[in-house]
Amino acid sequence: VPLLDRPWILASALVYLAGVLAIGVWSARRTRTARDFWIAGQSLGPVVTGIVTMAAAFSGFVFLGGPGLTYRIGLSSLFINASVGFTSGLLGWAVAKRLRLLAEVREVYTVPDAVLARYRSRVASGTAAVAILIGTVSYLGVQLLALGRLLEPVLGLPDLVGRWSFPAALAIGLGVLLFYSVVGGMVAGVYTDLFQGALMMLAALVVFGYAMASGGGLSRIGTTLAGSEAFGRTFLEPFGKTPVLTAFGFFFVFGIGVLGQPHMLHKFFMLRDPRKLRWLPFTLGFSQILCLLIWLGIGLAVPALVAQGRLAPLANPDEAAPLFLLHFTPGIVAGLAIAGILAAIMSTADSFMNIGSAVLVRDLPRAFGHPLRDELFWGRLATVAVTLGSTALAYAYNDLIALLGTFAFGTFGAALAPALAIGLNWRRVTATAATASIATGAGLNLVLELLNRQTWFPSLPKLPFAPGVLPGAVSLAASFTVLLGVTAWTARRGDPPLDPDVSAVMEA
């Protein structure tokens, strides 16, 4: 990462960190029960729900990894985001209403709670909890390491503490995150996410304006890139540098896998009034599109600036965003953008800290038939344990955790999307089918992704798929197939009738 220790950037980062700490202090007094800690007292309005769902969903990858990926593979990276037009509606129609209504009739605070209520199976709920824990540890570990790596240059720590700069940066980031997440639980989580989401949208909009202006506008950027030797027209084509099946795989995994993301679904339990779901696709969809402008803007501007000879070719594509911010935006905008990137990382991290602790303190004990009594106390303790555990694992097994983190979205999607999106809308789905689908989705995705990317054992077989096929897409399709197949197989025997309240939720 290039040097980021300029005064505006340092000031913005410090103001941002002070802001989230202040929200932590404010929310500490509002966190008195387990309901407050897990679902923010079920007190959110529609705009807040939309923005915090977006903030939890969009990690630092949108701000840093996205532009870097575009520099590497061209505009075919847009297929990752092309589904954003319908995903908010898909979430609303397929899962959000039923999840929120379950929370209306039952004490449902988490996705495994919802699985337990729907299927009345502790095996299904426990399997979902384990899948969520695996994804959470890797997702969280990657976010925390990214936070440390970003804070290190921003706070100028290499000059201050030398070789201890990364551990020091990580400790500062962890300290802030743990403070507000432990004392304020999800109350702090959602209000920091609201602040962070607003910051992300503002930063994305402003940086997009600068990106388009620096490259001479969309049309000129396109003409420059098409005529350059380094990039050429292929860079701009929809399938330019990416196999067609990879592009459609992105569309499928990110378009359908969204139905299994616990950090997004969790937010629906927090809405005060189910009738306010009416505005979910609007607030979520438009806030997502606003944030994605930074991916498109920097993703187009940086290669154009390289093609125009105004920026040296990048040795590391992930430096696209920091280099653009340092060289082509005023200090105050760069500061705003860096605060936006910190916000994107921390808003995703705090969601997973809460979800991970819920798995340990609520979901797994209930799956084993031994619910804990003082969930608020144990939840706070588990938040610390999950966070420090994920950090230690990520620190010790950096490559493995980074690898797991990169496909955690696919793991969540393959594990949970079929059991929720079909199971909450079709009463014939059995608990056996849901358990088989969750286990298949999570297990198959882990195995396929590790086989696909591992370099430790060269003698292991290569995957038998057509070129370009994404393991995550195969796992997702397999998980749906298993759910429907096992349902057909077990439906004749069937499950006992649904409880009247759950049945009413599914009919509503």
């Binding site: 209306e104 359908i256 057509a466």
Partner: protein
């Protein structure tokens, strides 16, 4: 009937996507284009269907969504090298930016809000749920 059709479509598309992942070639690309476009529409249709009312007022928006998604992905696949240049970008890329992302969002955001209390979540649904929630307490 609509639920059964949606389930039937999903039961067809899921193994088809899986099988096409092994085949590869041009046929697999066309299968993927159509299947990944119809998949979300089938899931939405399954979620939206309400007994005898079926898709109710959402029939037209969902047909429109299916047409935009399927038409867009098929068009992208059919355009050689992304097609002619529009606004400095290949037509296919411009289509993603100006049609494939914003048009579905406009359709779903409008259709969701428009049909919400008349069809999707009615006051009587909530009233029934409130009664069911209070029932065990009264019994207890």
């Amino acid at each position: 009937v609509t639920s059964r059709r949606a389930i039937g479509l999903l039961a067809l598309l899921s193994p088809l996507l899986l099988a096409a992942s092994f085949w590869g070639g041009e046929a697999a690309q066309w299968i993927w284009a159509v299947a990944v476009a119809l998949f979300p529409v089938a899931l939405i249709a399954l979620g939206v269907t309400r007994g005898r009312e079926g898709l109710g007022p959402l029939r037209l928006p969902l047909l429109l969504l299916a047409a935009v998604l399927t038409g867009s992905l098929v068009l992208l696949l059919a355009l050689p090298d992304g097609g002619p240049t529009v606004f400095g970008l290949p037509l296919g890329t411009a289509w993603i930016l100006f049609i494939l992302v914003p048009v579905p969002l406009a359709i779903v955001a409008w259709a969701y809000a428009f049909s919400f209390d008349r069809f999707w979540l009615r006051e009587e649904d909530l009233e029934r749920l409130r009664q069911l929630r209070s029932a065990p307490r009264e019994e207890g």
